[in-house]
């Protein structure tokens, strides 16, 4: 598929030219004087840490924000984009990280939504059906037009989003973190589609923080750092290390160094654990494992194979059956409580920090005590909060974990995803628990912070804590854990010593090829 990256003639008119775009929100300058040229018929990657200004720039291009100054040229014609309608008519299509689909409509209905030709749907639907047919043969974008969205896999839903853009005659397709929710196989398929689109003359802008994807899929890459465009380079003339350095502004260790684990006593023991979800589906089908002091157990697997439910059950968020014992003390699985978990010195960094881990409308300092409001340092026996102590604690912990901005009075909603994650980690790790449950520790976190988070986790292990790490990132599992169990369809299908296995073997186990 990488056949002719170099030979491709760069057609005369660039698809997009941005000239000196600036945008600020209050005192924060999100984009500073950004100039960028995206050539037609290329896949152009944009990388940068969270909060570097990638999303703001794309939102300006798609008409969600208006730039304070600067011009946009589409195919050499100066264009103003006051709203998304204007972006669409300029031939720009956007696929958001969180899909904008009506779950109980069919694919076809979603595609025409907002682009109907008249009051009656029949003509639009049959026209769309014809066009979908053509698009699917042309670009390998097969989706059943009559399928209901909520029955489709995430990968297929994403294809519907792409179809929606193409149906609106998009020539320039912007994808924001498209692989965040995809399995490795789905991601590969997506990149095949994108290359296909490029070969047919479309222009693709790919926003991501995963350097491997940039290296695999793009022709050109632009790097953003704190609101500025720091470099635009041909992808085949750079390397992941160099890109990481450009993004962070200093040299970054992409692999953590750690000593061999000195595993001690069994800290947490799980026997025949079964977890049923809200719909009554058995998601964890009776698994047994244990974790010892001073080791990191990784739970690998493609998202949706029961790892989330396992973690939530261990974290006291979800009912389960079986036996979970902490240093010999059995937990109440019938009526679980986050409080009991914390009393047993278990800390839980949930996978979904925005839904579970944080109160988004609370300030940073209020979130630092969240879950620990009963602790004597935060409230006395009369039930009065010690807000001053909590604020002081917040300053210290936020400084230690380098949460930016360091303003403790800012609502958590206004922090970037990576900094939100650092807040949760600061809260849970600094409690110094005996057992740490941690889900997707670096999801949506920028490279500079990943290094820091990984080192903190290793440090906890070396202090003799037991750690369970659930991650869908194979690289993370391989570089961080001491033992790894692969979860597939609610069962643990393989236990490995991390040192003695590799990505290929784990990949096969994740696909259901059991021992």
């Amino acid at each position: 598929m990488t056949k002719d990256k170099q030979e491709r003639p760069e057609t005369a008119a660039p698809a997009i030219q941005l000239k000196n775009i600036s945008k600020s929100f209050g005192p924060v300058q999100a984009n500073k004087n950004i100039s960028l040229t995206v050539n037609s018929g290329t896949i152009h990657g944009i990388v940068g840490e969270n909060g570097a200004g990638k999303s703001t720039l794309m939102s300006i291009l798609y008409g969600f924000y208006k730039a304070d100054s600067g011009d946009i040229y589409i195919r050499n014609a100066k264009t103003s984009i006051p709203d998304s309608q204007a972006a669409i008519s300029a031939g720009i299509g956007m696929v958001f990280q969180h899909f904008k689909l009506v779950e109980n409509f069919t694919v076809l209905e979603n595609v025409i939504l907002g682009a109907e030709d008249g009051a009656l749907l029949k003509d639009s639907l049959s026209k769309a059906r014809r066009q979908l047919q053509e698009l699917s043969t042309e670009y390998e974008l097969d989706v059943d037009p009559d399928a209901i969205i909520e029955n489709l896999s995430v990968g297929l839903q994403q294809r519907v989003e792409i179809l929606k853009a193409l149906y609106r005659r998009a020539n320039i397709l912007i994808l924001d973190e498209p692989t965040g929710v995809l399995t490795p196989a789905e991601a590969d398929h997506l990149f095949r589609i994108l290359k296909n689109l490029r070969d047919q003359g479309k222009t693709v802008i790919l926003i991501t923080h995963k350097l491997r994807e940039i290296m695999d899929a793009t022709d050109t890459v632009s790097v953003m750092r704190s609101g500025e465009m720091t470099a635009t380079i041909k992808t085949n003339q750079t390397s992941p290390e160099k890109l990481a350095e450009l993004m962070v502004g200093r040299k970054v260790l992409l692999n953590v160094s750690k000593s061999v684990a000195k595993a001690g006593d069994i800290a947490l023991e799980v026997k025949d654990l079964k977890v049923t979800d809200e719909k009554g589906v058995l998601r964890v089908k009776g698994i047994t494992f244990n974790v010892r002091e001073g080791e990191i157990l990784g739970i690998a697997g493609v998202a949706g194979n029961g790892q989330s439910e396992l973690l939530e059950a261990l974290g006291g968020f979800r009912k389960s059956q079986g036996l979970v014992s902490v240093y010999g003390h059995s937990l109440d699985l019938e009526s679980p409580s986050g409080q009991e978990i914390r009393d047993q010195s278990i800390a839980h960094v949930p996978e979904d920090r925005q839904r579970l881990g944080l109160i988004m409308d609370f300030t940073a300092w209020e979130n630092i005590g969240f879950g620990y409001q009963h602790e004597p340092e935060y409230s006395n026996s009369w039930g009065l909060m010690n807000n001053r102590k909590m604020r002081k604690d917040a300053s210290n912990k936020m400084e230690k974990f380098d949460v930016r901005p360091s303003n403790i009075k800012l609502k958590v909603r206004n922090f970037s995803g990576g900094n939100q994650q650092k807040l949760v980690l600061a809260r849970e790790i600094e409690r110094n628990p005996d057992i740490l449950l941690i889900g997707q520790p670096t999801r949506g976190v920028d490279i500079g912070a990943i290094e820091f988070i990984h080192n903190e986790i290793i440090k906890m292990r070396d202090e003799g804590k037991a750690i369970i790490l659930v991650s869908v990132e194979l690289d993370e599992i391989l570089s961080l854990t001491d033992r790894v169990s692969v979860m597939f369809d609610g069962n643990l299908v393989g236990d490995r010593i991390t040192r003695e296995t590799n990505a290929r073997e784990l990949g096969l186990l994740m696909g259901g090829e059991t021992d």
Partner: protein, 364 residues
């Protein structure tokens, strides 16, 4: 990073909303054929132009403070307590029973027990919908509305069949004894030698309501329970993650809410009518919703909004007395205020936000 200063958020924006509501009402007044400026001046003079007017305004405001606080507390837990009306009616019953049952020698003894009586009865009336929500998931809006009707029916039954004073034709209890009579504004200011009109019903309950504004502020922002209530209100799933029991928070916040609504009884039943009459609440439970909305569920905002609605209420009564404008116009103004502060808040908020940040940027 976007955040408006507090004074714009809780003072300026509601005032602009109010101004728009008044302007639209002025159009209605014009249509009726009266002069809007005259009407406004009668209203304002009638409400705050004399100690007589103030006496009524603050009496109404006291009712609205209690019911507004009730709605606010529940709102912090994302419970929409529509049942203030019924809870206040039951609270009134509790207050009346306390006043009738014992031979009170002095109001100082009667008032604390009446407060407990009103609070317990109001809380009890809120407890059943709260339990149904917490345990069975029955929607609190539906159940509390139904409980308003049940409260009203229950009071009619009790007043007609059980509590009616012997020999009386009216469905109301006998008058409370002297020892259960609360000092009025006239009495209290008289202690300091200040003259105040004798007739309006404002009484010591107004000071009690101010005390409760402070208590509720303290509860919500300074205690662990308040912290948990707010956390639960913002995100139920996160609260559960933190080990906060949803059942406990729903029950506790609704009990506090019901108790606050019930406390209204000390003002209306004990302070004003000095007996229990049919429909002692007179819609104050519903106005509490508007007050809480306009006050953005903050006790200080509730206090200001309650006084504003007190002014509207008393001014409206004056308006009906002196002009051809029907008393119902006040309902129109209230409706407009609720519409603008509740439903159309962003209509005003967004342009002001934009203007403010433009000015900030120009200033720096």
């Amino acid at each position: 990073m976007k955040k408006l200063p507090t004074w714009i958020d809780i003072l300026l924006i509601p005032l602009i909303n109010l101004a728009i509501a008044l302007f639209l009402s002025a159009l209605v007044v014009l249509y009726i054929g009266e002069d809007p400026m005259d009407a406004l001046s009668i209203m304002i003079k009638g409400a705050i132009g004399s100690s007589y007017g103030w006496g009524y305004t603050l009496y109404y405001a006291t009712n609205f403070i209690f019911t507004g606080l009730a709605v606010s507390v529940a709102f912090h837990a994302k419970m929409f307590n529509i049942g203030g009306e019924g809870q206040a009616a039951l609270g009134g019953l509790g207050v009346a029973l306390v006043c009738l049952m014992f031979p009170w020698p002095h109001w100082i003894l009667a008032l604390p027990v009446a407060i407990i009586g009103g609070a317990v009865f109001g809380a009890a009336w809120a407890a059943i919908p709260a339990y149904l929500q917490a345990k069975r998931g029955s929607h609190i809006v539906i159940t509390t509305i139904m409980f308003n009707f049940m409260a009203s029916a229950l009071l009619v039954y009790l007043l007609v069949n059980v509590l009616k004073a012997p020999g009386s034709m009216a469905p109301e209890t006998g008058r409370f004894i002297e020892g259960a009579r609360l000092p009025t504004g006239h009495d209290m200011l008289g202690w300091f030698g200040i003259k105040f009109s004798k007739s309006p019903p404002v009484n010591i309950s107004f000071l009690i309501s101010l005390l409760f504004c402070f208590f509720i502020w303290f509860l919500i922002w300074r205690t662990k329970l308040g912290y948990e209530i707010r956390a639960f209100g913002h995100s139920e799933s996160a609260a559960k993650y933190a080990g906060i029991s949803p059942i406990k928070i729903i029950m506790v916040s609704m009990l506090i809410s019901g108790a606050l609504a019930g406390l209204m009884g000390i003002n209306s039943v004990m302070g004003e009518s000095e007996r229990l009459v049919i429909d002692s609440v007179q819609g104050a439970g519903f106005i509490g919703i508007a007050v809480a909305l306009m006050g953005r569920s903050h006790p200080f905002g509730v206090l200001l909004a309650a006084i504003l609605f007190g002014i509207l209420y008393q001014g409206g009564a004056e308006l009906a007395l002196w002009t051809n404008i029907p008393r119902e116009l006040i309902v129109v103004i209230q409706a407009l205020v609720i519409l603008l502060t509740g439903a159309l808040d962003n209509m005003i908020r967004m342009p002001i936000e934009r203007l403010y940040f433009k000015m900030v940027r120009a200033g720096t």
